[in-house]
């Protein structure tokens, strides 16, 4: 297992390198001059040139890329934001807690809704409950996120006054954004749980468990769910990985100081080091979550465990 994890971590290097290169290229060919953008509408050109030189934009592409990679490898330095003049790593770390909390809460919400709904739907396939819960879950996905967020704010902050409309400094603040994301992703988990459970409850070992005289609830929760877990872990992992990259729309709506908003702002400003660092961070999270998912597989399924070497 250790060896496996080590191998996987090693594999991170080419992926991350690929990511940085693509992002670098992307940013390079994307029109828009960071210096000009930074200075705004009413600043003369000489100043722009001066700034370009100051941040090293006048160097050739490969030189820029090379020094970027070199700095990371040799000094662990991801560069300094053009805009805030602070180290990129600090900026990202400053946003990370909010993103992590929001992602965690959102995943909890969607699992909390999705898994039970999926299980009940599967065990009562084609019943009214099944239909209602699927419809409910679908409505969640169907609503554009920002619209749903605004509507939630209208209801819970403005009219009921129960929850704050924006900000991120306590438990109360997480509820609405987590709900916004959670409800729109719950459907995926519901659907996955349902189909995975349907697959599993047709298996002989489920019948075997029943044949032992086991209670239905235990048959479902112990035997079936344990085996249905893999696809559920997969979607939850994917979701979590994606959310760690920040949920831009939700973050903007609820003024959550998360990574997603930072990224969008940085992209808009062509804050190259920030974008680079950010994407690298996102890719890293993504890969790590994937790895975690694969490790979780091993816990969920002994067959997979024995494959990891």
């Amino acid at each position: 297992m250790h060896k496996y994890i080590f191998k996987r971590l090693l594999l991170l290097i080419p992926v991350l390198l690929g990511v940085t290169f693509i992002v670098f290229t992307l940013m390079y060919i994307t029109p828009g001059d960071p210096a000009a953008i930074m200075l705004g509408e009413d600043v003369p050109q000489e100043e722009v040139e001066k700034l370009r030189a100051e941040i090293g934009l006048d160097r050739p592409f490969l030189v820029q890329y090379g020094s970027f990679v070199k700095n990371i490898v040799l000094h662990g330095d991801f560069g300094t934001s053009y805009v805030t003049k602070r180290p990129v790593s600090q900026e990202i770390l400053a946003r990370f807690p909010a993103t992590l909390r929001l992602a965690g809460a959102a995943v909890l919400v969607s699992m909390g809704i999705g898994i039970p709904l999926g299980i009940i739907s599967a065990t009562k396939q084609y019943s009214i409950f099944d239909n209602v819960s699927m419809v409910f879950a679908l409505i969640g996905v169907s609503m554009p996120n920002f619209w749903q967020g605004l509507i939630l704010i209208m209801i819970f902050s403005l009219h009921l006054g129960w929850l704050p409309a924006s900000g991120f400094s306590g438990f109360k603040y997480i509820i609405l954004p987590a709900l916004t994301i959670g409800t729109s992703t719950a459907a995926i988990i519901t659907r996955m749980t349902r189909s995975s459970m349907l697959e599993v409850i047709r298996q002989d070992y489920i019948t075997t468990a029943r044949a032992k005289g086991q209670k239905e609830s235990k048959v479902i929760n112990k035997h079936a769910l344990g085996n249905a877990l893999i696809p559920i872990i997969t979607v939850v992992g994917l979701l979590f990985g994606k959310l760690l990259g920040g949920a831009v729309l939700t973050e903007s709506i609820f003024a959550v100081p998360g990574v997603g908003r930072l990224m969008v702002d940085s992209i808009k400003c062509r804050d190259f080091p920030m974008v680079q660092g950010g994407v690298l961070y996102i890719a890293f999270c993504f890969c790590i979550v994937n790895l975690l998912v694969d490790i979780l597989y091993a816990f969920a399924d002994p067959r997979i465990r024995s494959q990891y070497r």
Partner: protein, 490 residues
């Protein structure tokens, strides 16, 4: 955060929570030039002199000042001014600050005229600031955030990390910046002037307009920046809330690339001006928040030519002019705007209105960076932009947008060229006599107006919302408001 705490009863209201529309880029005055940063900076730092809400120059760190010659100004500093780190303000700090400012690209256009290396320290409290050329707009420039005075010692001690530990002379000390969320300030008890009435100032960043207003209404914040036009009426009806409005220094314009064949002819540009129903536009998009622009300068700028009148909506005349210019069959053009909602709305209306005189406009929404690049390459035909006169001086308001040396990247986005205007603008910089100077700028504005260098759209308003029990709030036209004299009343 602590949003609700402001609204809680019984508790002594010592904390002011302000909702900003965007996050400051930094709180070191030199590497930044954006309004949100300015919002925060004015709490911490101070300039030698300052403009009051009516744009009159007032002493601040300098008690008196005088012009020695065309190139030099002398300032006498107030004594006993303490920085937040306990140091006293000295002339050396002033010199240091301007030297540092001039090295920064971001504010170079504001303080660039200053010959920083030759600043002369007469004594601890007297400093002479020379300019490279005669520069009549120096005083307003010194009021800009770029002219803020830093503590030399603090900057040197902090080194790279100065951006995290700003030290100024302002009424509030910086405490903490929760990135993406809020900035927290605390009253500076050794302030040289009247101490701030509130103990703590929190500036929260709430980018979504609707949400910011909801926070104001529900008590999450006490002051709300940049209130949307369609929220004003409701807020004005709200008994707990006071809406403050003031015309700002920024002018929205419909630019026409004068190098483009279609817009070379002033008659076409005039026709466009006639074709626009700016009144309707301002009513519809800005919901009456803001006024129809009458000239290139906002009326509150000293030196604005108030005799100019809006072109007015005259379709016949527009068609006539087009015909004269050889476009009786109309023309096709492209209108660029960035993803700013108000501008997109404007663009849509402009599109509809110009259609009536036979100008077929394709609206293109460009991502800001990409748009800038296109503008810099002068690939545009029509564009919607605003010009923010950052110091409220006619020079800043007119030189860059209309001087032919500033084509394209320099600020003259419409590539307007007029020898007379060039001459006058150069002259204006060297003219220190207010009367004469004003006359020069009057003429410039008239020419620009007549030649319809811009399609004049609107002058924006600064709109602040605040709790009614918040007293003493003053509103600056540049949207950089100080909160030290604010307090909670009944």
């Amino acid at each position: 955060g602590g949003s609700k705490s402001a609204a809680k009863e019984g508790e002594e209201k010592n904390t002011l929570i302000v909702g900003l529309a965007a996050e400051p880029k930094g709180i070191d005055p030199h590497p930044v030039n954006d309004v949100p940063s300015g919002n925060a900076l004015v709490q911490i730092y101070e300039t030698l002199i300052t403009q009051d809400v009516d744009m009159n120059i007032q002493p601040l760190l300098a008690e008196t000042w005088k012009q020695i010659d065309d190139l030099t100004w002398e300032f006498k500093l107030k004594k006993g001014v303490k920085f937040h780190n306990g140091e006293e303000l000295k002339a050396s700090d002033v010199k240091f600050s301007f030297q540092r400012a001039c090295e920064s690209a971001r504010i170079g256009h504001i303080v660039g005229m200053i010959d920083a290396d030759n600043i002369e320290i007469i004594d601890d409290y007297t400093v002479r600031i020379p300019t490279k050329e005669p520069f009549s707009a120096l005083l307003p420039s010194l009021c800009h955030t770029g002219g803020m005075i830093l503590s030399e010692k603090a900057v040197n001690e902090a080194g790279e990390a100065y951006g995290e530990k700003p030290v100024g002379t302002g009424p509030f000390k910086f405490v903490e910046w929760k990135r993406g969320d809020s900035l927290i300030f605390e009253r500076f008890d050794d302030y040289h002037g009247e101490k701030a009435k509130i103990k703590k100032l929190v500036m929260r960043v709430i980018p979504e307009r609707t949400n910011r207003v909801i926070e104001l209404e529900t008590g999450g914040i006490d002051v709300c920046y940049d209130i949307g036009a369609n929220d004003i009426t409701r807020l004005e009806e709200n008994e707990d809330i006071e809406v403050y409005r003031k015309i700002s220094f920024s002018t929205g314009y419909l630019g026409m690339n004068c190098l483009d064949d279609k817009f070379k002819d002033a008659r076409v540009r005039q026709a466009v001006n006639y074709a626009l129903d700016v009144d309707a536009m301002v009513n519809s998009v800005l919901k009456g928040v803001g006024t129809v622009a009458k000239g290139p300068l906002t009326p509150n700028v000293p030196g604005a030519n108030l005799e100019l009148k809006p072109y007015g909506h005259d379709i016949e005349k527009a068609k006539q002019l087009l015909k004269e210019a050889g476009f009786e069959n109309g023309l096709k053009t492209e209108l660029w705007t960035n993803e700013n909602k108000d501008r997109i709305n404007m663009a849509e209306i402009i599109q509809a209105q110009l259609k009536e005189v036979g100008i077929d406009v394709e609206v293109k929404i460009l991502e800001w960076g990409a748009m800038l690049e296109g503008l810099n390459n002068k690939e545009h035909e029509m564009l919607i932009l605003g010009w923010n006169n950052s110091t409220g001086d006619p020079d800043i308001g007119l030189y860059a947008p209309f001087h032919s040396s500033k084509h394209g990247k320099g600020g003259n986005r419409v590539c307007y060229t007029n020898k007379r205007v060039d001459e006058l603008l150069d002259l204006g910089r060297k003219t220190f006599d207010t009367e004469k100077r004003n006359e020069i700028y009057y003429e410039v504005q008239e020419i620009i107006y007549n030649e319809a260098a811009w399609g004049l759209l609107y002058n924006k308003e600064v709109v602040l919302g605040a709790k009614k029990n918040l007293k003493g709030l003053k509103v600056w036209p540049n949207n950089k408001h100080r909160f030290d004299f604010v307090y909670f009343g009944e």
